[in-house]
Symmetry: T
Subunit: 160 residues, 12 copies
């Protein structure tokens, strides 16, 4: 079935579309595991990190929406269905059940770090084909790096 | 690892926990496929349904949070990870790619109808063991029935 | 003409539908006579009761909307047309023209008392067929009882 | 029983009072049938018109309050009781039960058109006796004409 | 010294200017005696009328500003200095010291009644020379008549 | 192609339509030249007038919308396209490039003065055919006269 | 002295009244000891728990008001005087003076746990006599269980 | 156990601490009896005083928090536990059960009067040792005197 | 007629009452002449000072209310009637008609300077009899000195 | 006449200035034709598209302001006068009079598509001379592409 | 160059001016080192103290502005330039680079303690010459003591 | 002591860190001298520029926070201590004491101009190593250029 027309020529559309679809999966996955940790965290730092995780989730949800709508705007139908996320998501995630606060902090540092690394590759890849998409990915990266710092700065005791 | 203690005796805790975990998966799945349709819908009624779907997503997200936190409060660690949703979600969902507005409306009517049916069973099951959980499920059912009506009322032409 | 499908089996749908339609008429009638008293009240307590009546009207209007939409959600078309209200409304109401503040207070106590009595019967009737509708009626009853108390508490001098 | 004194001489008071009482009945009736359609509408344009009808209802309720309070301010007790509306309301209204979206649009165009025609007569009638009341009726007319336009502009297909 | 130029021809400017200056004095005086009563009222209805008087003051202050700025806009310098108000204000006002609530109510009814009477004359006078000024005076009259009604409706017992 | 039906008889519709179309062009032109001055003004009073001009623009845009929608409500399609404004706009406007603050003040006084003069003629013309349209034009005139005063009051030194 | 009439028959009124009065004392006591801990807490987690305690206090105060007003609405005068609370309050409370953060967390877990246990008994007791009161108690229980979970989840180290 | 260090020398700390602890008990007691009257008041002035009492409660709660936190800031652990209030509170309070509106007004006048007298003594006592605490007590006194006036002004009929 | 009782002994009451009544007259006068200048100012700095004057008026009105209510709270009926202000006001004020911006600035500097001088005397006079009143006068003085500075800082050219 | 100095060297200033002036004309034209369609649209989708068009207009106005102020900041006086827009605007626009909803949708898709194409050229042109201007153009392009998608997605039936 | 005139006699002006200038430097320094710690803090309590530090900064900035404007109002030009702060600031501050959370807490306790000690001396010094300045310094001291308490209460482990 | 890990490789981290630290010093210095001028400005344009300077300060403070947190996020501890700013700040600043409005305007134009020049160099330097940092610097530059324009546009008379 025919859908939305693109404002980009085909090769550029494909590169931008791939970058956006990959980012969408990462962000939706991040929003789900952020909530998972938000609900299952235990330990003396419960309240502070419980609240902090909701900022991660809120950021991830908001950018996921922007990213998916940009894909649609480029004529690329985004895919954020449960089975797609489960199949395509490759960042670290929490195990089942209760999880100690120190483990949560380490997990978020690792997950955000991996997501940022992938985003930086996509920033390079989209510079030429679509600076508008690149600008969006730059904005996401800056925000995730800020949130990663905040978890890294409280990642103590480091070896627990 | 030890976690949160329950305020319910064991059998009641198990019944309420099962009802909440099942509802959590349905609501998280609903929030994902609601967004999927929000992004991929095409057709003359695009804007109206695009906005309406965000109300479904917003409702699903908000209740998912309440349901998961109620599980935690009963000493049952909730599970909303991507792989869990993908494995446990059984309600109807959209196919990949662009989707016509009339199909979206039918899909939401069907999905909400199936979710409501399962919720009504859980209302019965939790009445005795935990009226607090039951009250929460009653509230969710009322809200989903309201949203189902709004899609059913605009489900025209019916046989397209 | 075909309309909205119900999520309830037929007998339950009928019981819930009757309870909701009866409540709708009472609430719409209450909103109209509340405004009538709001406009026609005279006496030294004018301002205080004039304002208080608007809270009754606001409550009645808001619940009327919720009740009617719940009927629609159950596949029962609600009826709130002028002629229907005039024919079906049986609670006490004000006479024509200016009305003394003490009379207004007594009238609202009586009207709310009658409405509450009917609501309590409907709470019992809907417990089995539809706990979602019952929960809504319980909420309305609690709110009307609160407002009835506030008028009863200021119903002085009692025999004027 | 004596009530509020008028700031107008008697003949002027009667003319303005009649114009206001007639307008009050039209507006209260309009608010009731607007809600009736809001609840019972079905068809593909359900959501858009469902929302649009609430703007009609909100306008009608707000002006009804202003109109009735102006009557009181002129020493004329307004009458908005259910039986009065049912007896005095003569504008077109919906039949019982579900109603198609296209019919709703036509109905609102007709009802608002009839109400506007009556308001224009009252504008002429009150010009001399009470320019304050006239100014209020002018304001109502402008607002209803705006809302009528919006329904007329979407009154398509015209002959369905 | 030269000031602001007028958009009206001279005779019209004079008529409108007189109407506005007279209204300005009445409104500023009303704002001062409203506050005087607000501070000095005693009696069982203290709180209700204390609050109600602030609505009179707020209305009077707001319209005084609009009226004076309209005079300026017509090239007529408005005069609201203390000595001018004291010399030109002729509406009823409170005596010195504490004042009973029933007296306050009667006083406000009388003062607003007198102000309204003068406004109605100015409405007639400005119809021809400046319909913009007339429209403003019509708006003020409607608002003062509404507030007068609210005090008149609570003017009980009448002969105290 | 057929469009919106009118609630006015034909001759009245034509008079009101002409008055509204003429006002629309003036207001849209005013909004454009107000912005032009807002961007190009230089001189020591830059900031104060830069801000003040945005109030003119905001007023002009808001009334333009109201005026055009009133035309539509009367069955007269309004015309605010670039070529129409350029062809029909006859009020004074700024030259190209930077413009001194004192010149801006004089320009706005002149432009608003000319617009007011035309509005006063339309107030007279529409009194009989459509008091609703007249009431709107009266409101616009009052607001523009207020803004004209504020620029005239700061139009110093006058002969620079 | 006679007071407010009840909308419940006598035995039901007594059962509901007892449940509400008991809950009122628990909630007022909770609000006082919550503030006591809010002011006297010391330790590295001061700020987080200081803020968290204010949410307990805010919840307790708000529900205390609702519970007391429901008692009044049932014709049962509520008693929340200092001497009554001191005499009837039986939940755990803090000792005098500064208190370590870990102790505060344990105290709140214990106090809320005891309050919840008593509420669950009242939910059972009021089911028959007054479902409106029961519904209120269910709501309070759910909220307190949520807050208890948050303190229990951060109740580390457990044996300190 | 060691707690918070003081920024005041010992004798000054003791005087300020005593003044703050005494004020804390008065304000917490006031907040409780204000709510007691808020719930149990009956009589024609119910609504007005019911609302007014909530302003007393709100003031008392807010200042109680400020006073207790100032004590903590001075290294004095504040004591606001139920048993402390019950033992230390010496201002007038309401009897059990429903209470007439006129009695409530007299009670609040008396209670606030007694509290103010004690505050004035503490203002004198703290002037030298801690002007910061004195400034806080001056602020509380001014606010309570304002609220006392409002009840005194409506304390009619005086001898009932 | 008897009014509000005082919480101060007689001599203190008189001193505080005189200070408050004098301040009331100054502030009400200030609010009137501030508006007078707000309306009649002309010159290139019109807009900036027009807005700045409204901050003076707003400050004066707000403090006048506080001052008058403090007088009432001390059992001293405040007097803010037009004739009282006209008779008792002794600060500098504007002449009739349009007034140049530079003159306005000088006038406000002079008027605020004179008001501040009188306030400083009242601060000394009330220190002993009523520190609560003194604290209020200190607050007013600080605010008026801030506003005086802002006009003094822009009082250029100084000798015009 | 001399104006604002530039922070860019001359060739860069010229390139950026041209890009901004061209964008300004496109955006102002877009805001005018968006409003034109907003007022003249007819057809069953009237309300939905009527609202959607206001988002286009709001976007266009807001970015036009930013673009023009950036030109000024670079020392390039922007030109947004009616005659300039009429002469320089080359994007598709509506014909005179009423216009069907389907035509409006097609028109907006075409106009936005053309504007985006021109913006992409300007993004390339400004990359070197002024990355600040480029960043602004990238932001505008992304927003317009999003809005174009929403109209394109509802551009059905395509061949009407 | 001449500046703002003082409302204080010379010796009083000098004492108040010195107190304000000294306080200004302390507060600006505090705002800078508060931000420094806000950015460089690491450790498990990162988030809680990171947020808490922003309240210190916000308080310091707001009071610095008030203090400097009070100096200007007294005719004393305040000095808050970088070189002045660097030269005059004598309170404890952080070393370069990352800083552990426990160190930050100790540092803030020390810095605020030192600032409070200096403020208390200035309160004594200004009592006679300018009670308005004294009142401001009292307010600042109370606020800083409150913030010092909050850090002192969480200053654990004490000897780390 | 170890701190936050970087998401950038070492050379990139150093370049970005230097650019951010340099910008931080410029922005903090700008916020301090902006406030200095805000407090010490005199002259007829006092109020307008006094307000405008607070926008510069607000911008500088907000971006300083963003810049410093970005440095932290890259593992570079930012340095904003008083002594660092005093030593590293090299942009133009005000002399001690009162300062004429015309001088302030010239000073801000010069200071912003110098800051912009340095920012443009950093934009070039960071393009390769870290486009996220570059994007932030582009945003700051655009905002400062806008504010510089506004001061430059009012920089009259130019040679005073």
């Amino acid at each position: 079935m025919t859908g939305v027309n693109s404002t980009l020529p085909e090769p550029a559309r494909r590169v931008a579309g791939d970058a956006l679809q990959g980012t969408l999966v990462d962000l939706l996955g991040l929003s789900l595991i952020g909530k998972q940790a938000h609900w299952n965290i235990v330990g003396p730092r419960f309240r502070s990190i419980h609240l902090q995780l909701d900022e991660v989730v809120s950021t991830a949800r908001s950018y996921a929406d922007t990213v998916a709508e940009r894909a649609s705007a480029l004529g690329v139908p985004p895919d954020g269905r449960p089975e797609t996320i489960a199949a395509a998501y490759t960042l670290p995630g929490p195990k089942e059940g209760w999880i100690r606060d120190t483990e949560v902090v380490q997990l978020v540092v690792d997950t955000l770090g991996a997501a940022i690394e992938r985003l930086r590759e996509r920033i390079t890849a989209t510079a030429e084909p679509d600076p508008v998409t690149q600008d969006l990915l730059i904005g996401i990266t800056g925000e995730l790096e800020k949130q990663r710092w905040m978890f890294d700065a409280e990642n103590w005791p480091r070896d627990e």
